[in-house]
């Protein structure tokens, strides 16, 4: 049982709430139903939007006829791209993260522009007095389509003569790059052992329980647009709006309400966001749009398929000499984010291990499907899977224990920081900054009872039971820079105000920042108010993705809070006629240590820096009790971990049960262990889903076939194992907090460990599993095919 959680109001100076299982600031509103999510925002006179979407994966639009739809009582307006053109400075969203690898640009039009290229692509927006009426009208908008051939498979897409995903494209190759180092060819030419494998890896969508959504409010008196958006990146959203509308920043504000989960796709700015905004501008009314679950399946970005062909070269002792291969990545029909998903997969493959030579040729293929962009894990699970499966393969071939082959190849802790001859997407060298990978694995193996497993397995087999164990190590670069601003200000009321472009989507951003700020300013997180994701709170920001915000925003918060603290102490020293070293901050006031009555409140100090006309500021202080931190990050800081999973496979049904699930990981210093645990377990749940349950299905015409929660399986409570969860803390040397990102840690190795365990359980049947997800039906087919 966890230690008793510490309630919000606590602590005196010197009491850093670091490392405390502090209960969250977010909870009081959320547990009483007073959260305010995008669709909860009440605005008088608001109209509701629904979208007309393409039912075809690829077609030309001959005409759009909406007179019948307009005739419905309660319809306010129906807009297509033609209607929006006069308001747009740009018609396409050029959002792709920069890269030299693009072979063509495929940006999304604000609404379909004569051609639709995936099922679900928005064609028109209907605005009405209720969502019910909007949907009635959308069903009556008559779009005349000329069907075109659709590409459903990213491998087919790249074959010469393949049908074109976009009619005017020269081919379907969106981007290509290679990654690697060392003399791969000569390594393979002389290697004693070479094993090759082909992998299919599939991941699905985000499926945050809250879908996307926004409320656009155009104030035509001030000529200002406010967009309340369930977004992970408010400042990015505003930047895109600036580009699309051709307005300057002062006319556009993006605010973020409570967000019911993000997991990646809410970082993206979508056609629905700009369309809702334009609808408000043109109708003069607030317009709201709430994504329903079907829309999330067909119109929110998702991850999908990767196909890998890989060879590994090893010596007689299982030391890896090199790894090489190629990969085809399903990019979808447009670029909604960049090449980062495929890049991450390619980059992470060799990182945890000392691999002297590596080369991967990657092609991103267009398909007539919704664009793929990162979902929690962001391509890392796939790269890790390849390495872990190849190690298991080599181990099996050479008769070496799977833990032993890893021991022989893991980057040892003595070599930290360990520079890899690879470049991050920003062209910075990749350096594993800290961590004890072998030590982590050893402890995980010990907790899993790995040493005694073969005996357990043999006894189980005698009873007709099939159990297996799998190991996976991983690293993940976190804390992606370059910065995340945090402003800390003391209000004249004494309230500690924190503003940041960082995004809250359930990962406890407000509590995390409060703990950091409070640790410098009196220890009471209940005194801290945090505003996230508001473009008027801080001028610039990036938002939540890639497990970056504790590192970036957390560090900036520390810098800002420290600066404010120094200012408070200096001013108070002047007012109390004491020296700053003799002062402490407790209970909302600065006071002399040992003389509690000799104090001045934070609010009073803030007022003093506000100035009085005609009077000098005391002690030569700068005006304003505030500071902004912008901790600059160029390098990723790497979290690492090991999962060791034990499963039992029912060979008659193919069902997989968990017998034991060990997670040991290192995300540096923990600010709030309760929150860290929650992130790891949540990530592991998602990883189990990817290994066993989640499949986003499309047919050969690129029609989505899993479009509801009965067909697409999300893990529920009874399927979850109990976890043996333990932490290591290798402080990151790259930021003042020593923290690393943790949001994706639980997920990245999960699929690898689980599928390795299943393969091990089914070893008597000659199982070799090089794909994910694995289904009960295929397990049964494998067993029955090998039983005779």
């Amino acid at each position: 049982m966890a230690a008793e959680p510490v309630p919000a109001a606590s602590g005196s100076d010197g009491h850093k709430s670091f490392g405390e299982r502090v209960t969250r600031l977010e909870d009081p509103a959320l547990i009483t139903g007073r959260g305010r999510f995008a669709d909860d925002i009440r605005l008088p006179g608001a109209a509701h939007a629904a979208f007309v979407r393409s039912p075809h994966a690829h077609a030309l639009i001959r005409s759009i006829e909406s007179s019948a739809a307009r005739a419905i009582d309660g319809v306010v307006a129906i807009y297509t791209l033609d209607d929006f053109r006069p308001c747009l400075a740009m018609e396409r969203m050029a959002v792709g993260l920069p890269s030299p690898s693009y072979r063509q640009e495929r940006d999304r039009p604000v609404l379909a522009d004569g051609e639709v290229v995936h099922v679900g692509e928005p064609v028109a927006i209907v605005v009405a007095e209720s969502r019910y009426i909007a949907e009635d009208a959308a069903a009556l908008v008559d779009v005349d389509y000329d069907l075109l051939p659709a590409i459903a498979d990213c491998r087919e897409s790249l074959k010469p003569g393949a049908d074109l995903v976009h009619r005017d494209a020269p081919h379907n190759e969106l981007a290509a790059f290679d990654m690697g180092y060392g003399d791969v060819d000569s390594v393979f030419a002389s290697a004693p052992h070479v094993y090759s494998e082909s992998f299919w890896q599939h991941r699905g969508g985000s499926h945050s329980i809250e879908g996307r959504g926004c409320v656009a409010v155009y104030d035509d008196v001030r000529e200002q647009l406010t967009l309340h958006s369930s977004t992970q990146a408010a400042h990015s959203a505003r930047a895109v709006l600036v580009d699309l509308l051709g307005w300057d920043e002062t006319r556009i504000r993006v605010m973020t309400p409570d967000v019911g989960g993000g997991f990646g796709p809410k970082v993206v700015f979508y056609q629905e966001d700009i369309s809702t905004a334009l609808a408000s501008i043109l109708t003069g009314r607030p317009v709201r749009w709430a994504e329903d679950r079907r829309e999330h399946f067909i119109a929110s970005t998702q991850e999908r398929d990767q196909y890998w062909n890989v060879e590994i070269a090893v010596d007689d002792d299982g030391r890896v000499l090199g790894l090489r291969g190629s990969m085809i990545h399903d990019h979808g029909a447009y670029t909604a984010r960049g090449i980062n998903l495929a890049y991450n997969s390619a980059l992470v493959v060799t990182l945890p291990y000392e691999i002297p030579a590596y080369r991967l040729d990657v092609k991103l293929a267009l398909t007539n499907k919704v664009p793929s962009t990162p979902v929690r894990g962001a391509g890392h699970p796939q790269g890790i899977f390849v390495m872990e499966r190849m190690l298991d393969r080599a181990a099996r071939e050479l008769g070496i224990d799977r833990a032993e082959i890893r021991r022989r190849n893991l980057v040892p802790s003595e070599k930290m920081p360990y520079e890899r001859p690879l470049k991050s997407r920003g062209d910075a060298p990749v350096v594993l900054d800290s961590g004890d990978y072998p030590g982590c694995m050893e402890e995980a193996l010990r907790r899993a009872g790995y040493a005694g497993f073969r005996e357990r397995q043999a006894r189980a087999r005698e009873e007709g039971r099939y159990i297996g164990i799998g190991i996976a190590n991983y690293v993940k670069g976190t804390g992606r820079g370059p910065f995340e601003s945090v402003t800390v200000r003391i209000g004249t009321s004494g309230q500690i105000l924190v503003y940041t472009g960082a995004a809250a989507m359930g990962q406890s951003t407000r509590t995390m920042l409060s703990q950091i700020v409070a640790s410098e300013l009196g220890g009471d997180i209940g005194q801290v108010e945090v505003v996230t994701g508001d473009t008027e709170g801080v001028a610039i920001g990036i938002g939540g993705s890639a497990s970056r915000q504790t590192v970036t925003a957390g560090s900036s918060a520390l810098i800002a809070a420290t600066e404010v603290r120094e200012k408070l102490l200096m001013l108070a020293a002047n007012m109390l006629e004491a020296s700053p070293e003799d002062l402490e901050i407790v209970g909302g006031a600065v006071r002399v240590k040992g003389v509690p009555d000799l104090k001045v409140g934070l609010g009073e100090l803030a007022s003093a820096t506000g100035g009085t006309p005609g009077y000098s500021l005391p002690g030569g202080i700068e005006p304003g009790m505030e500071a902004t931190g912008n901790f600059i990050i160029d390098d990723l800081t790497f979290c690492n971990g090991t999962q060791v999973v034990e499963v039992e496979v029912d060979i008659e049904t193919g069902h997989v049960d968990f017998l034991n699930y060990v997670i040991r990981h290192d995300a540096g210093v923990q600010i709030n262990p309760m929150i860290v645990d929650g992130q790891v377990v949540g990530g592991a749940a998602h990883g189990i889903g990817n290994a066993l349950y989640e499949w986003m299905g499309f047919d050969e015409n690129a029609q989505p076939i899993t479009t509801n929660f009965a067909e697409y399986l999300m893990i529920t409570a009874p399927e979850m194992p109990a976890f043996d969860l333990s932490h290591m803390e290798s402080p990151s040397p790259l930021n003042p907090l020593g923290v690393k990102g943790v949001g994706e840690c639980g997920l990245v190795p999960a699929t690898s460990a689980i599928i390795a365990a299943i393969e091990d359980a089914l070893a008597p049947f000659g199982a070799s599993l090089a794909h994910s997800p694995v289904t009960p039906a295929e397990i049964v087919a494998l067993v029955r095919g090998n039983e005779k």
Partner: protein, 163 residues
């Protein structure tokens, strides 16, 4: 003109008399017409459970009911769980203390489901708790904090009832 009916529904002890379109779901009626936005919509096809409320004391998916069906009935939503403005129900306290929520979007359904479950099963095993919430999806927590909160709440409630 849309077909409507006048209905009277008691929600969290308060009676509401409203005219509502017959095709409006109970969830939309509460959220949009009454401003009770605590109950959430996650799928609108009866799987995610975020819309779960208590209907005459029994958990039910409000996205799968028509508002008109609630005429004359009693509903409890997340907004009605706390005994007063200043107090929390032991179940809510347990959620807070056990990190039983992260984004909070599935939480309304989890709380109403567990309120019924703990009322009818005051001393559950962990497996029973997991089955009780098998009809509620959470993407953030992996359910561990929720299960811990439910077991903790069960103990607090037993103690409060002199158990």
């Amino acid at each position: 003109m849309a077909e409507t009916r006048e209905i009277t529904v008691t929600i969290n002890g308060k009676a509401y008399t409203e005219e509502v379109e017959v095709r409006f779901t109970l969830a939309d009626f509460m959220r949009q017409q009454l401003g009770l936005t605590g109950t959430h919509l996650g799928c609108e096809h009866g799987v995610c459970g975020a819309c779960t409320i208590l209907f005459d004391g029994q958990s039910a998916r409000s996205c799968l009911m028509l508002a008109v069906q609630a005429n004359g009935h009693e509903i409890t939503t997340i907004e009605g769980i706390a005994p007063s403005e200043d107090e929390l129900h032991p179940l809510q306290e347990a959620f807070r203390d056990n990190h039983g929520l992260q984004c909070g979007f599935c939480t309304p359904g989890m709380l109403t489901t567990l309120l019924e479950f703990l009322r009818d099963n005051p001393d559950p095993t962990e497996d029973e708790v997991r089955i009780a919430i098998s009809g509620n999806l959470c993407r953030c927590t992996g359910y561990q904090g929720i299960v811990a909160a439910a077991l903790d709440a069960a103990q607090r409630l037993r103690e409060a009832n002199g158990g």
